[in-house]
Amino acid sequence: MLLFSSIIIGIMFTVAIYLILENRLLPVLFGFGLLTHAANLAILTMSKNPIGKVAPIIKSGVTNYVDPLPQALILTAIVIGFGVTAFLVVLIYRLYTASGTTRIVTLFNEEISTK
């Protein structure tokens, strides 16, 4: 289980980095989203193997609960990631309306030449 999820995390990070290095802003946006999710999955993996454990709701006679803390942490991280992604969407939209392109090379080359 641990091996499986670590392979998935690795693939997610690879894809995210590939997308971030793209030349257009939209793949970059998706890359950032995927990157935060890969990190969230990494936290979830830290709660060890969940097979055979029950949800963290206290019942009498049950002792093997899943570690609840990583789930609480992920909830926080997801909310923060959501906020940042929303901001990023607006930022990219503004960049697009201001300069009519989402290609990073043209966006930032123009700036250098106008200096």
Binding site: I20, V28, F32, L35, T36, A38, A39, N40, A42, I43, T45, M46, P56, I58, T63, Y65, L69, P70, L73, T76, A77, I80, G83, V84, F87, L88, L91, R94, L95, A98, S99, L107, F108, E111
Partner: protein
């Protein structure tokens, strides 16, 4: 009534954070910019400053102020723990926020003020204060994100094309940094099963040679290095900071990078065992590159704010050098230098704002004549420039002197040479500004009468300059305070004891079956440390006979052994 008063005193630890947050929220509801709104914000900032200074006073008495949020015991709930180091930085932070707000009021017209500007500043201050006061790794991440999101907002507030373009790299770097931070938190949780500073510290106290620990510590240094603007990671900084208006640039430059340095110091002292020599030497090499390369780049710039930005990065290198040497005195110097640098770089950015008000440009070639018409601004600039370069009566000298002295004492000559070289080049870059802006005669530039609000903003800046001057001339109390902060950082057992074996005032123990067994095992682990002899031997205010407890330094670092009471001066 007495009970309420008692709980207020207990909760004073979170008050600076809380007041900033509430003020920001009120500012979002109360939107129309007017005089009373400005008055409200400045009074709130003043209250935060007074409270923060009261916290400094308190931490000097009881060393560590601790509050378990919701009365959940330490390893389980989020703990807020402010030691002397944290309280000093909170004091400087709130002071800078007050002065930046006052400067802002003096220079911008009421009808041109964006209603989000002041709330966002308050949110940023709240996040920074929380990160200086938290005792929990994940909470540190949350507070980082609070001030980062506020700073994205501040950067794009003008919402013109240039600022949005410059925000994009800043945002990208910080999103990646934040992700790496979460990943680091997950590694720590996986290794130690806890995110509480004190708990990690108790568990790692005899693991200082463990390669896994060294790996994760260096990973964290990388993560915080992105925030601090280390040598290979600083390209985003001048780009985004130089497009901000002066008071915001002052806040960003003074505070944001220092949070990264704070987190590195906290990680390497409070959280992880002392004596991770390989990491110190890696930081040392990085600091040499940061100091020298950034200052050389600053000499090639032609824009006052960009020059200041690269100076800022170069001086981050000095702070890293103090961490790299990692002796008690060098850390004292580093902490002192950090406070000095927050004040000085912020006031230099404000002075650059004054210059722009006068000459309407911040390109060196187009400026000039200022010394003749406005000599007082020149005087302010001169004091802060010499302080930045580190000339004797000014505040920059003492921190640099302590760091340099320790570098020579521990035979780290390359570090010492880099410090001296970077200081000289700092002086050179400051002289460039001095010559072009103040002394040069520029026929095509006419400086008219002082613009509106110029007098008030100059007054604000000169109070800040006076403070920094006082730090240099009456340096003793400041050095004593930083020495006390350093002792608190290296005295890990007292931090652990305070947080983990905390006697609860409220009889509310969380009922958790899982947790209960862990809690009892925790107590067993901590209790031998608790009865450690000589724990409370430190004498107040006497930095000469401090009793450093470098308990977990292995034999391999014998040259960095406990100092035998050598004096600071």
């Amino acid at each position: 009534m007495i009970h309420m008063l008692q709980s207020l005193i207990d909760n004073i630890v979170v008050l600076p954070f809380f007041i900033a947050l509430v003020t920001g929220l009120v500012g979002i509801i109360w939107r129309r910019p007017c005089t009373s709104r400005r008055l409200f914000f400045s009074i709130s900032a003043a209250i935060q400053m007074v409270l923060a200074w009261y916290l400094i006073f308190l931490t000097h008495k009881v060393k560590i102020l601790f509050l378990p949020l919701g009365a959940w015991k330490a390893p389980f709930g989020i703990s807020i723990a402010i030691d002397v180091f944290g309280s000093l930085l909170i004091g400087v932070t709130t002071m800078l926020s007050l002065f930046a707000i006052l400067y802002l009021f003096a220079t911008t017209k009421k009808d041109k003020e964006n209603f989000l500007l002041l709330p966002l500043i308050q949110f940023m201050i709240a996040g920074i204060v929380l990160s200086f006061s938290t005792g929990d790794f994940f909470n540190l991440f949350v507070s980082f994100e609070i001030f980062l999101i506020a700073s994205y907002g501040l950067l794009t507030l003008k919402s013109d094309e240039k600022s949005i373009k410059n925000t994009f790299p800043y945002l990208g770097v910080n999103v990646i940094g934040g992700t790496l931070f979460v990943l680091g938190a997950s590694f720590i949780y996986g290794m130690f099963g806890t995110l509480n500073f004190a708990d990690i510290s108790a568990q790692t106290s005899n693991l200082s040679q463990d390669p896994k620990l060294i790996l994760i510590a260096s990973y964290l240094v990388l993560v915080f290095g992105i925030k601090a603007g280390f040598f290979p990671l600083f390209y985003w900084l001048p780009r985004s900071y130089s497009c901000l208006p002066p008071p915001l640039a002052a806040l960003f430059a003074g505070l944001l990078t220092k949070v990264g340095i704070y987190a590195i110091i906290r990680t390497l002292t409070t959280i992880f065992p002392l004596g991770l020599v390989s990491i110190y030497s890696a930081i040392g090499y990085l600091s040499i590159f940061t100091m020298v390369i950034a200052i050389i780049i600053s000499l090639s710039r032609t824009n006052i704010r960009e020059i200041l930005c690269y100076n800022l990065i170069s001086h981050i290198g000095f702070l890293m050098a103090s961490i790299a040497i990692f002796s008690p005195i060098s850390l004292t110097g580093g902490i002192f230098y950090m406070m000095h640098h927050m004040v000085v770089i912020a006031s230099l950015f404000l002075i650059s704002g004054l210059i722009v008000q006068l000459t309407k440009t911040d390109v060196l070639q187009n400026a000039g004549n200022v010394w003749k018409t406005h000599g007082f601004v020149g005087l302010l600039f001169l004091i802060q420039a010499l302080s930045l370069a580190g000339l004797p009566p000014f505040s920059g000298f003492w921190g640099k002197f302590l760091i340099l002295r320790e570098a020579i004492r521990f035979d780290q000559l390359s570090l010492a040479i880099a410090i001296v070289l970077a200081s000289i080049l700092t002086l050179l870059s400051m002289i460039r500004i001095w010559f072009h802006v103040f002394l040069k005669k520029n026929e095509s530039l006419k400086i008219g009468p002082s613009p509106k609000g110029f007098k008030r903003s100059t007054t604000v800046v000169s109070i800040l300059v006076l403070f920094s001057l006082a730090m240099g001339v009456f340096s003793n109390p400041f050095i004593n305070a930083s020495n006390k902060a350093m002792t608190g950082l290296l005295n890990k057992t007292s931090y652990e004891n305070k947080v983990l074996v905390y006697e609860q005032t409220l009889k509310m123990i969380p009922v958790d079956k899982n947790g209960h067994s862990k809690q009892s095992s925790e107590k067993k682990q901590v209790s031998p440390i608790h009865s450690h002899p000589g724990q409370q031997k430190t004498k107040n205010g006497h930095h000469k006979n401090e009793n450093y407890q470098l308990k977990s330094i292995p034999n391999t670092v014998s040259k960095k052994e406990v100092l035998d009471g050598t004096s600071v001066h």
